[in-house]
């Protein structure tokens, strides 16, 4: 089976698993919306101008939603020893990663479509450029999903993996946080930022962490 067909098979498998018990959707959405609610309660947009920090708050929400969502994706392979079957299947280990990444990215994107408008409404922020916002979210989310999936795969094979997940993930996501927040801020508030530089950071980050799993994920999966 060609590589892309294996990836497609993994995506279909994730879809069926999700239909059976919507673990990931619930993690992504509930986490995202809960954080929006808590941020709004914490900063009180009626009393203070949250526009300068809106981009940062939004991304913190996405970070935790992505880590929680991908955590479920890999944790459910542990339950019932599904990894054993996956290793026995004629499946390239990297295809497993990219299939899960594709499916999880779609869910993350859908979550952002719900969470971002909800937060911006609650926070009373009207984006200056909707296209710029979509671009910043897409570029940032690609790298976010790639790293969250990789770290979740590592954490899934640990005793205290769930507790370690943010500890492993957030430092790795720091450069992405800088770039994605600056670009999102520019799209939301029209803040002047060196957009070309931040685009380069994001693109370099996305490329590095989209390619790295091709090399290292087979080692994580073999066990």
């Amino acid at each position: 089976m060609p590589f892309w067909a294996q990836v497609a098979a993994v995506v279909a498998r994730e879809w069926r698993a999700e239909l059976g018990r919507p673990d990931m959707v619930v993690s992504f959405l509930v986490y995202g919306l809960l954080l929006v609610l808590v941020f709004t309660l914490a900063v009180n947009p009626l009393a203070v101008d949250v526009r300068p920090s809106a981009a940062g708050l939004l991304w913190i929400g996405f970070f935790f939603a992505a880590l929680a969502g991908f955590q479920r994706s890999f944790a459910r392979e542990r339950e019932g020893d599904a990894m054993l079957g996956l290793r026995a299947a004629p499946l390239d280990a990297a295809a497993l990663y990219y299939g899960k990444l594709l499916f999880g990215s779609a869910l993350l994107g859908a979550t952002e479509l719900v969470v971002a408008p909800a937060f911006l409404n609650l926070a009373n922020v009207r984006p200056v450029s909707s296209a710029g916002l979509a671009g910043a979210l897409a570029l940032g989310s690609a790298g976010l999903a790639a790293v969250a999936a990789l770290v979740a795969a590592v954490a899934a094979s640990l005793r205290s993996g769930e507790a370690l997940l943010p500890l492993l993930g957030l430092p790795l996501l720091a450069p992405l946080a800088l770039g994605a927040v600056r670009l999102t801020d520019a799209a939301l508030t029209g803040a002047l930022v060196p957009a070309a530089l931040w685009l380069r950071v994001l693109v370099a980050y996305d490329m590095i962490f989209l390619v790295l799993p091709l090399v290292v994920f087979p080692y994580i999966a073999e066990e």
């Binding site: 640990l158 492993l168 790795l172 720091a174 450069p175 931040w198 790295l212 073999e222």
Partner: protein
């Protein structure tokens, strides 16, 4: 290698004397400039140590030889210690010269994140029992963590920088700085040898306890 401990201890003693006694105070910063000798020496060795973690991680994934994993683990531990010294000496210096403990500045941001990445690396190691599995997962984090460093550095640099890249120094100050860098590097090599040997002994003990032949 038998002389390495002595080389390290004598060099560290000499560097301490040069940095704390022999070199003069700086015109503007006064005695505070002496922090520089600890700061630069430990910063360089922190990066060296994390570079060695990368080499050990890649080599372990390729060869599966436990000694590469021991090298990476030992180097990460020492790297975290040197990073802590770098951060603390930098903060004391910043308090005196910038009148603040911390600034979100490229090298400070990068160093702080390095600390978090490799502390997470060590916590990860401590939460896996099975040696080969532990080595594999740690190696993946060791590689990903090191790739993150240049990204952090460059993104933080575009964010704005204040870090001094050069200080006006007299000959004796340069001597003290060079001596401290060599002394800390010798100390790193000595500590690395000790930490690797300790881990090798631990692994051997674990095998003996498991009833296998050593």
């Amino acid at each position: 290698m038998r002389f390495l401990p002595w080389v390290a201890y004598v060099l560290v003693g000499l560097a301490l004397w040069l940095g704390l006694v022999f070199a003069p105070p700086e015109a503007v910063m006064g005695q505070v400039v002496r922090l520089l000798y600890f700061h630069v020496g430990s910063a360089w060795n922190a990066f060296l140590a994390f570079g060695v973690v990368l080499i050990g991680s890649v080599a372990f994934l390729r060869t599966r030889a436990p000694r590469w994993d021991r090298l990476a683990a030992a180097s990460a531990e020492i790297g975290v210690v040197f990073t802590t010294v770098t951060l603390l000496s930098g903060m004391f210096w910043a308090r005196a010269v910038w009148n603040t403990w911390w600034r979100w500045e490229p090298r400070l941001t990068t160093t702080a994140l390095l600390w978090f990445i490799y502390v997470a690396y060590l916590i990860l190691r401590s939460s896996v029992e099975e040696p080969e599995r532990r080595g594999t997962l740690a190696a993946v984090v060791g590689i990903a963590g090191f790739l993150d460093v240049p990204l952090v550095y460059f993104s933080a640099r575009w964010w704005g920088g204040f870090h001094p890249s050069a200080v006006e120094m007299s000959g004796s100050m340069v001597l003290a700085l060079v001596a401290s860098v060599f002394a800390f590097t010798a100390l790193y090599a000595e500590l690395l040898g000790l930490a690797v040997a300790t881990r090798a002994a631990e692994d051997r003990l674990a095998r003996l306890r498991a009833g296998a032949r050593p």
